[in-house]
């Protein structure tokens, strides 16, 4: 690759390093692995840069974040932390995960960190839409592109995630 091409690539995607890191951190759960995922994602992005140039309308952010997301999911598959996890099921998981992270756990957390913990406690598919919407300010369409699901699914996942976070917030306020 020509140096000038590399410069074009860097100018396009390096401004989104913070966004990439934030998403990776929330998807893999710790800073160290998030850094590995980000580096891997940038190398993948470089590899697919030719393919991106054909796609119009994208400023590169959603494109990069989609690669970060996929790299994080690959990381999860490789590390098999949840090796036998069943495929994500909208209905099933939105009900049962409450048992894994009961409100009593949330209540025990220091109040200032409770929302962050509540986000970490969400199923990955809910967590990513919250991070992309609330922390990164992506539009529904951009989130749909990054997460590879229809806009309607983005909306219902956001609604469920927010309901869960709202409960955590309420619990925290009662604790005070």
């Amino acid at each position: 690759m020509e140096p000038i091409e590399l410069e074009r690539f860097e100018a396009l995607v390096l401004p989104y390093l913070d966004a990439a890191y934030t998403l990776a951190r929330y998807l893999v759960g710790n800073e160290h692995d998030a850094q590995d995922v980000v580096q891997d994602a940038y190398l993948r992005a470089l590899k697919y840069f030719d393919g991106f140039r054909g796609a119009g309308g994208d400023d590169g952010r959603a494109w990069l974040l989609a690669i970060v997301r996929n790299t994080a999911y690959t990381w999860h598959r490789r590390h098999r932390a949840d090796a036998l996890a069943t495929e994500f099921d909208e209905e099933l998981h939105s009900e049962t995960v409450a048992h894994v992270h009961p409100e009593t756990t949330l209540l025990r957390e220091a109040a200032h960190a409770s929302l962050r913990h509540a986000i970490d406690g969400l199923p990955r598919e809910f967590r990513e839409v919250i991070v992309l919407r609330e922390l990164e300010g992506l539009s529904y369409k951009e989130i749909s592109d990054v997460a590879g699901v229809p806009v309607g699914t983005v909306m219902s996942r956001l609604a469920r995630a927010r309901k869960r976070l709202q409960e955590a917030l309420r619990a925290e306020q009662q604790e005070r």
Binding site: M1, P3, E5, L6, F9, E10, L14, L17, D18, A20, Y21, T22, R25, Q35, V38, Q39, Y42, L43, L46, K47, Y48, D50, G51, F52, G54, A55, A62, W63, A66, I67, N70, Y73, T74, R77, R78, E87, H112, A113, S114, L115, I119, R133, E134, L135, S139, Y140, S144, D145, V146, G148, V149, P150, M155, S156, L158, A159, R162, L165, Q166, L169
Partner: protein
Amino acid sequence: MSHPVLEAQVDAYLDGELAADDARELEAHLIQCPECARFRDGRIALRAAITAQVPALEAPDALRERVRAALRVAARKRAFRPIAGPVLWRSLALAASLAVVAVGSWRLALQRAAGGALTDQVLASHVRSLMPGHLTDVASSDQHTVKPWFNGKLDFSPPVYDFAGRGFPLIGGRLDYLNGRAVAALVYGRRQHLINVFLWPAVQGPAGGPPAATRQGYHLLRWTTPEYAYWVVSDLGIAELRDFAALLAHGDSAAATPAR
């Protein structure tokens, strides 16, 4: 209007995603309906709490340096790497020697050699995809999940069909890199066998590769429609693989017909 619908509208409203007409209607409703107004206030409070307690993170400086260094190394490697690996060079050497024999057939020989290299690339991609953790980037048997997943990742939207009813369930999709471009890879199953379908927009010029080949125990089929170049690879028996290719070719032409 029911409350779940209104709640979804309030979310879209606060996210700035609601159309102006609907937003005006909703605002009028919020004035009259304490329940919806309470819901809205709760969401506003949540938003404020997230902003206050959960800031977006800043990448450490060390990471920025690491990423830049890694990109430099990767870009340099790409600069010095032969276009399609050693196989192409060997083929080119063969093509060149043929050209000495018959100048007129040089062009054809070069094309055939390049096609052979593509066959090798496709086979290598298939074998790599079978290694643990490499098969799919999006795992879903739902064509309406797999197809939109490619949005923003490719400069084309590949046709995706599920042939579960015919014994070839869709397993998922993946990005791959072939023939000097990013391509769509679709994964199908047949009993314990896996099938990779690679496709990218058809271009004029050398199509490359024989229509069918067998390498290292894998069968490869390829064809070109007006829209797409297709490669199909599997360890499945050749007869069953041809059945699958026919389904795929039929699905694609069925989709294309109304557009013409």
